[in-house]
């Protein structure tokens, strides 16, 4: 394994281990996403199409992601551990990648509950939807991790993260909802892949600057 890969592996292992120990993020995400879906049932008037419900699934995903990202750098900020990681000889982008992978894992677990719940409450789920969710998770984790690091360095972090996160996530919502409701989901999946590629590269390259002076 290359040095970079082993750094990422060590850091990812650390993040997953932390969650296993404290067990605070995952249960909250699961509970939140199901509660959100129930709220949406009451928010949809009777005559709403199932297409509207499909759109709302994505709202649930975005806000669940916000919750997950809000917790992403909490452990590093307490005790300023991030300084210790930044001082290590590893590439700083490895920190981003490891954190992004763990965020994606948490999101995937939350969606593993949310998607069946959605199928139960609202409408059946297509393969295109699942593909879109997987692709969107990558984009959310990539951009979200970078923005979460920025918010963590500021004073009003819980307030700032949603403001930073929501505008860049709009294209992901478009791609996701498109893949969910349109007859030809292929275009939207391709668009999601394009977004992922572009913003993953950008985030990977610029994380270094976000955590150093």
């Amino acid at each position: 394994m290359t040095a970079y890969a082993s750094d990422v592996a060590a850091l990812t292992r650390k993040d997953l281990l932390l969650e296993l120990r404290s067990r605070d993020t995952l249960p909250s995400l699961l509970l939140f996403v199901v509660s959100a879906l129930v709220v949406f049932h009451f928010a949809l008037p009777a005559s709403s199409s199932r297409l509207a419900a499909g759109g709302l699934l994505w709202v649930a995903i975005v806000f669940t992601a916000l919750l997950a990202l809000g917790r992403a750098f909490v452990a590093e900020r307490a005790e300023r551990v991030l300084d210790g990681l930044v001082l290590a000889p590893c590439d700083r982008s490895a920190i981003w990648l490891a954190k992004g992978i763990s965020v994606a894992v948490f999101l995937a677990v939350a969606e593993a509950i949310a998607v069946p719940a959605f199928a139960l409450f609202f409408a059946p789920v297509t393969w295109a939807m699942i593909g879109a969710i997987a692709l969107a998770d990558v984009g959310i984790a990539a951009v979200g991790t970078l923005l979460a690091a920025m918010a963590a360095a500021s004073r009003a972090r819980e307030l700032l993260l949603p403001l930073l996160f929501l505008p860049p996530v709009i294209p992901l919502v478009v791609g996701g909802v498109g893949a969910t409701v349109a007859e030809d989901p292929g275009r939207y999946l391709a668009f999601l892949a394009l977004y992922d590629l572009l913003f993953a590269i950008l985030s990977w390259a610029s994380f270094e600057y976000v955590v150093t002076e």
């Binding site: 452990a75 005790e79 300023r80 551990v81 210790g84 001082l87 000889p89 590893c90 150093t212 002076e213």
Partner: protein
Amino acid sequence: MARPLITARELEKRFGDKRVLRGIDLDLAEGQTLVVTGPNGSGKSTLLSLLAGLLAPTAGELEVRASRAEIGYLAHEPLVYRELTAFENLDLYGRLYRVPERRERIGMLFERFRLWDARHERVGSFSRGMAQRLALCRTLLHEPRLLLLDEPYGGLDAAGTSLLDAELAELATERTLVVATHEPERLAAATPSVKLAL
């Protein structure tokens, strides 16, 4: 004459409008010991953060001819995860710093700093003295060439203090040390080559 390990000229650091460091000139050769003294709030921690590379100078020049792998930094906070055990924390740093024979080295440090029995306990349950000793283990883990120690005696009891005295005495002969303290009398062991009062 070999180039000094640390060179600073007219070093200045400002946080917003507040100027914390001003006009610092420094030359530290390899193997020397620098003691930085001054009351609380005089900028000792800021200077060490600048030397470590965590902060960038606002003005002036600073050159530290040691790579990140060669620097060991002891901060005010122990820089360890509270939810992980002592061993897990050092294992992570050991991997990141590519420490050879990681487990043996960690074990040896734990024994030396009397943390062996607590190595599988959550750091969150540690006392202040234990956390400080763990931080010292973390700092020394990768046998750094340059040691930046910010108040290394903070929180240590008498036993811990004598442990650290012995350790510093040994380290001062082998490595380059920068120690920031507001009680320079404690540093009886390491005879400073250079002094800087802020």
